[in-house]
Symmetry: C2
C-alpha cells in the first residue's frame, strides 16, 4: 500500500517536481501550491493561526506571514498550544553552502527565523550541510567548508542573537550524540523508502542515500547535548522552504519509533526569479537573481532590464487595462520586501488599474532592495572571524530562553 | 562489464556464500578457499613471503603464519618492500561487538595482530563497530557501546602495547577527519556497486548502505590526525578474516580516486565450530564454540562431548586405519593453538596412523586450551576501566614506531 502510494507520487512528479534538488512546475508554468499541500499532506497556514501568533508574541506578524510567503505548516498549532502553556521550543533551519554569495531568496528563511527567534525568545540551531554540497555539487571537502563559513557570515548578518544561536557545519559537528541519532534514524528507513521520497537511482552514490538522516537529526534535541541535556522533551519548529518537506516527512515518520517528538514545520513558497515565476534563479545566470553582493547600480540595472513586467505593451494599453499583477515580478518582489501594507495596497490598486506605470514600481522596488542589500552588506562587513567562531563554538547557551 | 561480473558473483554465491554477515559452504561442505582466492582476486600467502617476514623481523613466524591460518593477502609484499626500505606502516583491525564474551575464533585476528605489532614495531588502530552491530543486530545504542567496552577489555588482554595502540568505538569516534573521509569514500561508490559487493536489497535499511565507508576509512591515515598528522603517506596493513574482504575490495577500488594508498591485507581462514568444518559457531549454541569465559571443566566437557572426531568407530578399526585428520576437530584446533611444530608433527603421525587415540588428542587439546583461556582470563581480570580509557583516549602516540 505504502509502496504503491510512493510509486504514484513519482508518476505525479513527472508533472510538477518539488524536491530538495529540483523545483519545476508542470509545462514550465507556475508551481501549484495547493496541489503541493495536498500531495505532501501538510496544512495551510490560515488567518486564525496568524492572529494567534500575534496574540502570543504581542507583536505584529512578520510580513512573510501576513503575505503568506510562509503558507503551509505541520503541527505549528501544537507548538503554539505548548508555548501557550509555558513550554518552550527550539528552532532549526539550515543552508546548503553551494555558493559564495547568497541571493535574496536565500535570505528569506533566515529573515523569518530571526523574527521567530525574537518574537518567541527561543534558541536556534542552524545546520550548514557542507557534507551534502560536497557530495551533490562535487565540491572538495575544503571548498565546501570554506563556503559554509562564508555563508555563516551572511547568516549572522541577519541579526541572530549569539546567546541563543548555534551554527554548525556537518563536517565539524557530525559525531557523538548526533551520529548516534543518525544511526537510530537510518535503522528505521529502508532503501525503497528513500527512493520513494527522494527518487534516488541505483547509479546514485551511497553518500546521497546516507545523507537524509544527517538533515533529520537536528530535529531531535538529544542531537545537541551541550544545549538541551536534561531538556530532551523540548519540541522543534523548522522554518524552511517547502522543497525541504521530503526530509521532514521522513523524519516525522521515524520520530515516534525512536521515542522522539515529531518536529513541527512552517514552510515557505519559492522566491521567483527576476525573469518570472516560471524562470529559475540559477548560479550560472547571475541576472536571474539579485545577490546580497550586488551594488546599487547592479540592482537598479537588473530590475530595469530583467524583472519580468506584467505591464502592458504601450502606455495607452497600460492606462486602459492596467498591469497583470499575477505575473509582475516587481510587484511580487515588493510583496516580499515592502513592509508597509498600506503602501503595497496602494500600489496594487494604482498599478493594477493602470494609473501607475512599471517604471515607477521598478523604481520603488529598486529603493526597497537597495536599502535591504545595503543594510545587509553593512551588517556583514561587521561580522568578524571571531564572531563566526563564537556562533559555531560547541557550547552551552545558558540564556537561550530569556 | 563491471555490473555483469558482479551479477555473476551473486549467482556464484548461491553455492558458497562468504560475506561479512554470512559464511556458508556449498551443500553444507567445507569452504573452498582456493575458489575464494580466485573469486575475490586476492593472492595466496606463499612460503617465500613467510621466510621474508622471518628475515625482516628477526624472529620465527607466528604459528598462524606457519600453519597458514592466514593464507591470503593483498599487496603484503608491497608493505614488506616499503618496510625493508625503512618506511613504516600501521595496522588496522577491528571487531563488531555483538556479544559479551568472545570465543576462540574471535581471538585469532587479535593474537596475530599483536604478533605483527611486536614483530614490526608499528602502531595499531582497532575499530569497534558498535554502530554496525546496533544496526544489524538491532541492539540499542547504549547496549552496543557497553558491549564495545567489554570487548575492548578482551582485546586489551591480548597484550597490546598502549603506547602503540588506539582502540575506538564508532559511536564515539565518527566525526571530523574520519567523517570527511567517509563522505569522500561514499561519493565514489554507487548503490548498485554496494548491492553487487554486499548483496543488499531495497528492503534493507539505509544504515546498512551507509556503513561500508565507516569500515573503509580507518584504512587511510588521515582519518587519525592525532596519530598520523604530517605522516599522511604511511601505508596500512589490515589483518582480518577473509569474510571482511568485500569491505576492503571496495576500499582499494576507491583509494586511488581520492588520493590515498590502497590498504594491504593479510587474511585468515575461518576457525571451525566444535561440531566440524561444516558446523557453525553460533552465539545461540554455546556448545558450538569455546569461549574465553569457559571454565576448565566446561572446556574439558565441550571438547570431550562435542569436538567432532575423525577417529574410527572402534579401537580396532582406529588402530587399523588411523584418524581422518581432514575432518578431525581436536587435531585442527591443535593446528591453531599448539605452538610446538615437532609435537604437532608427532601427533599428526601417531594419530593419523592410529597409534594415538582421539581421547589422548582431546586430552592434549584440553590442556592447551585450558592454559590459553586461563592465561586470557588472568590477563583480562587485570584490565581496569582506566586502562580501557587509556587505550581509547584520542591522543598522540609519540613512541608508536619505537
Amino acid at each position: 500500500m505504502e509502496k504503491r502510494e510512493e510509486a504514484k507520487e513519482l508518476v505525479e512528479e513527472e508533472e510538477q517536481v518539488v524536491n530538495p534538488w529540483e523545483v519545476s512546475a508542470k509545462d514550465g508554468g507556475k508551481i501549484d501550491y495547493d496541489k503541493l499541500i495536498d500531495k505532501f499532506g501538510c496544512q495551510r497556514l490560515d488567518e486564525s493561526l496568524i492572529q494567534r501568533v500575534q496574540r502570543l508574541t504581542n507583536r505584529p506578524a512578520h510580513v512573510f506571514l501576513r503575505r503568506r510567503v510562509f503558507f503551509a505548516h505541520r503541527d505549528f498549532n501544537d507548538i503554539l498550544d505548548a508555548y501557550e502553556k509555558g513550554q518552550k521550543f527550539y528552532l532549526y533551519t539550515g543552508r546548503g553552502p553551494s555558493s559564495e554569495a547568497l541571493h535574496l531568496g536565500h535570505l528569506i528563511p533566515f529573515m523569518f527565523t530571526k523574527y521567530l527567534q525574537d518574537a518567541f525568545k527561543v534558541p536556534l540551531v542552524i545546520q550548514l550541510t557542507d557534507d551534502e554540497k560536497c557530495m551533490w555539487k562535487n565540491l572538495s571537502v575544503e571548498e565546501s567548508q570554506r563556503l559554509a563559513r562564508e555563508n555563516a557570515k551572511d547568516i549572522i548578518a541577519c541579526g541572530f542573537d549569539v546567546s541563543k544561536t548555534f551554527i554548525f557545519s556537518d563536517f565539524d559537528y557530525v559525531g557523538g550524540a548526533f551520529y548516534k541519532n543518525m544511526v537510530k534514524v537510518a535503522k528505521c528507513v529502508t532503501y525503497n523508502k528513500v527512493v520513494g521520497i527522494f527518487g534516488f537511482t541505483g547509479e546514485d552514490h551511497i553518500g546521497k542515500v546516507s545523507f537524509p538522516p544527517v538533515q533529520a537529526v537536528p530535529s531531535f534535541p538529544s542531537s545537541f547535548p551541550h544545549l538541551f541535556s536534561g531538556n530532551d522533551n523540548i519540541r522543534c519548529l523548522i522554518p524552511c522552504a517547502i522543497d525541504q518537506d521530503p526530509y521532514f516527512r521522513m523524519t516525522r515518520d521515524v520520530a515516534p519509533r525512536i521515542g522522539y517528538h515529531k518536529p513541527a514545520l512552517i514552510e515557505s513558497s519559492f522566491f521567483p526569479a527576476l525573469q518570472g515565476e516560471n524562470g529559475k534563479m540559477s548560479a550560472s545566470d547571475p541576472n536571474s537573481a539579485i545577490y546580497v553582493t550586488d551594488s546599487a547600480k547592479e540592482i537598479k540595472n537588473k530590475i530595469n532590464r530583467y524583472a519580468f513586467s506584467g505591464g502592458q505593451d504601450s502606455i495607452e494599453l497600460h492606462r486602459k487595462y492596467g498591469a497583470d499583477l499575477e505575473v509582475d515580478i516587481p510587484f511580487k518582489y515588493l510583496g516580499f520586501f515592502l513592509d508597509d501594507d498600506a503602501e503595497l495596497e496602494r500600489i496594487r490598486e494604482e498599478y493594477g488599474s493602470g494609473r501607475m506605470l512599471t517604471g515607477e514600481v521598478k523604481k520603488r522596488l529598486t529603493e526597497v532592495l537597495t536599502d535591504l542589500v545595503e543594510r545587509h552588506r553593512r551588517a556583514r562587513a561587521l561580522v568578524t572571524d571571531e564572531m563566526v567562531d563564537a556562533f559555531m563554538a560547541v557550547r552551552p547557551l545558558p540564556n537561550m530562553f530569556n
